[in-house]
């Protein structure tokens, strides 16, 4: 990566969003997406100690209704690097069991006058509900099977930094697409940026009418990854499955697990990505996951912080 000549360039402006919320990639345009990627690209190369803390006094609540380590820490770090105060709240199931409705929880939090709520929730559309009733900004950190916008943004930037471009690439998304919010966000983002997107899944994990989202659908991994530049693997969402979608992990690995042999069908320098946490020996061969020439899995995590910095800053700017 050409770190050196980038540092001397004038930094790209703060990303511009048409809304004070980031709820989904669907509905965002190319300009918004590229401005976020450009700004995050700049942050990714910056020494964290040299970042100007422009968000002093800005209060961010990380509200997670579902377990998460990497996304929560990533948002927290991003907020802190910009100088904001970040408070983590895990709303465990007990407070919901006590009978408090989601909206009451939201109003309680809102009374503390945060500037930004980062919400993860197991139900699709929950962040939208927050945005309908609260005044502060809302960033969706993953809602049910719907979207996970910052994950798609960081995936795109990871690819752009490695392959030098996005437009015109062929990218495969493979695995449990039915239950995956990462897949939906990636599909919207990549198709908006002019990528040929191929979705690969067994028929039981392929959502209905997916081709209407502008992608090509494949049941065969080998056909699907033919000559692609990048392969995004998805985790088998055991917690969202009912048990009849895939006969066994062994069978899944046989047909959809990526190994060295299947990878040969892809472009010769195709890269492999995974939003984590991954199931080794199910979605991906262990040796491939650790192959740093091919696997960008660790880079994705690094870039995640930069993307979330750009997002928080853009949301802050859009509020003004």
């Amino acid at each position: 990566m050409n770190k050196f000549h980038k540092i001397n360039k004038t930094p790209p402006p703060i990303a511009t969003l048409n809304s004070k919320n980031l709820l989904s990639i669907e509905g965002m345009n190319k300009l918004e997406i590229n401005s976020l990627l450009d700004r995050a690209d700049y942050f990714a190369d910056l020494d964290p100690l040299k970042i100007i803390k422009t968000l002093n006094g800005y209060v961010i609540l990380n509200v997670f209704f579902e377990n998460s380590t990497r996304t929560r820490v990533s948002f927290e770090l991003a907020g802190r690097r910009l100088g904001a105060e970040v408070i983590n709240i895990s709303v465990d199931k007990s407070s919901i069991k006590k009978g408090e409705s989601l909206l009451d929880t939201a109003n309680t939090l809102s009374a503390m006058k945060p500037n930004l709520l980062i919400v993860r929730h197991p139900e699709s559309g929950a962040p939208k509900l927050f945005s309908d009733y609260l005044n502060c900004s809302i960033v969706n950190a993953g809602d049910g099977r719907h979207e996970h916008p910052t994950q798609a943004l960081l995936d795109a930037l990871t690819i752009r930094r490695r392959l030098g471009r996005i437009e015109g690439l062929k990218i495969a998304i493979c695995g449990d697409i039915l239950n995956s919010r990462v897949a939906r966000s990636n599909i919207h983002l990549l198709t908006t940026l002019g990528v040929e997107v191929r979705c690969i899944a067994p028929p039981t994990l392929m959502p209905k009418s997916l081709e209407n989202l502008g992608v090509n659908c494949f049941n065969s991994l080998k056909d699907g990854i033919n000559n692609v530049n990048a392969i995004m693997l998805l985790r088998l969402q055991n917690e969202r499955m009912s048990g009849t979608e895939s006969p066994s992990k062994r069978e899944y690995y046989r047909f959809y697990g990526l190994d060295e042999e299947k990878l040969r069908m892809a472009h010769h320098d195709a890269v492999i990505m995974h939003p984590g946490p991954m199931n080794r020996g199910v979605e991906i061969a262990s040796s491939l996951a650790d192959n740093e020439d091919r696997s960008l899995i660790k880079t994705q995590v690094e870039i995640g912080v930069a993307i979330r910095m750009a997002t928080i800053e853009a949301v802050y700017n859009a509020q003004k």
Binding site: E26, S101, L102, L103, H121, E123, S124, G125, A126, K128, L129, Y133, D143, G144, R145, H146, E147, R181, R184, P207, K208, S209, L210, N212, L213, R240, M241, S242, G243, T244, E245
Partner: protein
């Protein structure tokens, strides 16, 4: 509630009596609750107008009160029997079938008797309860259908649940056949209508399966989950000879199957409700939970098929499927929000809206909310003629306005802000004026 004790004279009113196929402009007087004069408006009036509260009703319609086939009596925080009754009367609904799904359930004779006693004041029979087809509406054991029929259950259903087990369904049908009562089914194959049931885990379907559910990341219910149950039930209906009634037809495929069954002479009727001929799944794009219904809103092709099936009489009855919900049950993320919406107050205008979509006659449309439900449940339809007690509603079929959720007594409505036409102005039950806005005409 008598606003004015003078006898009423309704001049030039268009009388549509669906039970007689009568559609005529008439002059009518009502004296002490009895229709005293009932003649064609071309005849000279042999009366002194000054003796009457005289109203010019040109282009207004007088018809039987609406019989709303299926209503949930959910006593939520903001709705109870008297609110429901009041909302119904104001909207032209003078009879309603009460579904057994309430607390406590209407799955035994004591509850049926209790409901009838509690709700039918002064012998004005207004609420007609169904009995649960199975105990606790769980679909396992047949309920006391005979005893419930004896005390006044008008039919049997597990609504909103679908009777899944084929053997249970067969037994219920043969029993209901003996009792000469209809079976109402809300068809939905449970295992298909979600993310497959395995052992104990069922992920409930949340909306129609298709592009919209894929975009929103909501669990889809395929439209075939409906027709699969109807096809099975038709075989059992043929076997047992029962009167089988399909509730809330929502898909194109179900319409086709019912049409064929009717041609084959099977004793089958069906209904739908306004959301299924007025709205489609695109309404859900913003996760608005007032559109979370069961069955789910389908695609545009289905909506058109339902509308056409009303016009060609494949669908016999239009009902409100009134299922009120408190706000607390609806202001939730989509998955957690309850299913259902109010409908009783919007039934008449949304049904009349159909007149703009085809050259179907108003007689035919009114049959679906008056005569046909009475026939299905074998409830006598009152006569509209002289020397009979006044039992009718008067509405303006042309008045145009927007539905406003804040002016409705029941909630939530999926039709807020929608243009409709038709408004009720007077309701008379058993000779009594129970709603009177007629001076505003």
């Amino acid at each position: 509630m008598h606003k004015n004790n003078n006898p009423i004279l309704l001049k030039n009113i268009r009388v549509i009596d669906t039970s007689q196929n009568l559609d005529q402009e008439m002059n009518i007087t009502v004296n002490n609750g009895i229709i005293s004069y009932f003649e064609n408006s071309e005849k000279n009036l042999p009366l002194n107008e000054n003796d009457f509260r005289s109203i010019n009703c040109k282009d207004k319609i007088l018809s039987h009160g609406i019989f709303d086939l299926r209503v949930y009596l959910n006593e939520t925080n903001n709705e109870n029997v008297s609110i429901l009754k009041n909302a119904a009367i104001n909207s032209g609904v003078l009879k309603m079938g009460i579904l057994p799904f309430q607390k406590p359930l209407l799955d035994n004779p004591i509850m049926i008797e209790h409901l009838i006693e509690k709700t039918n004041f002064n012998n004005d029979k207004f609420f007609y309860p169904y009995g649960g087809a199975t105990k606790e509406l769980k679909g396992n054991e047949i309920a006391e259908l005979g005893l419930m029929a004896e005390v006044g259950a008008i039919g049997f259903t597990d609504a909103p649940n679908c009777i899944q087990d084929s053997l249970v369904m067969r037994r219920i049908m043969s029993y209901a056949k003996m009792l000469e009562k209809p079976i109402l089914q809300n068809p939905e194959d449970k295992s298909l209508a979600g993310l497959a049931a395995s052992n104990s885990t069922t992920i409930q379907g949340e909306m129609n399966e298709g592009e919209v559910s894929t975009r929103l990341g909501l669990v889809g219910i395929p439209s075939c989950a409906e027709v699969i149950i109807v096809e099975r039930d038709l075989r059992l209906a043929e076997l047992t000879g029962v009167h089988y009634h399909v509730s809330n037809v929502s898909t194109k495929e179900t319409v086709e199957v019912i049409k064929r069954a009717k041609l084959n002479g099977i004793k089958i009727t069906c209904d739908t409700s306004p959301p299924y001929f007025s709205l489609n799944e695109l309404e859900l794009s913003t996760y608005d939970t007032s559109f979370k219904l069961s069955p789910p809103l389908r695609n545009e092709e289905d909506r058109i098929a339902i509308q056409n099936a009303i016009f060609d009489d494949t669908i016999d009855i239009i009902t409100s499927d009134h299922k009120p919900m408190s706000n607390d049950a609806k202001i939730l993320p989509f998955t957690s929000a309850s299913t259902g919406a109010s409908g009783i107050e919007t039934l008449l205008p949304l049904t009349l809206n159909l007149l703009n979509k085809s050259d179907v006659s108003i007689m035919n449309i009114l049959k679906k909310i008056t005569l046909n439900p009475s026939k299905l449940l074998k409830v006598e339809i009152p006569k509209i003629k002289s020397n009979e007690k006044a039992n009718f509603i008067i509405f303006d079929p042309n008045e145009q306005y927007l539905i406003n959720k804040d002016s409705l007594q029941t909630s939530p409505t999926p039709f807020h802000g929608r243009p409709v036409q038709g408004k009720n102005y007077m309701s008379m039950m058993n000779g009594k004026v129970v709603f009177d806005n007629i001076d505003l005409l």
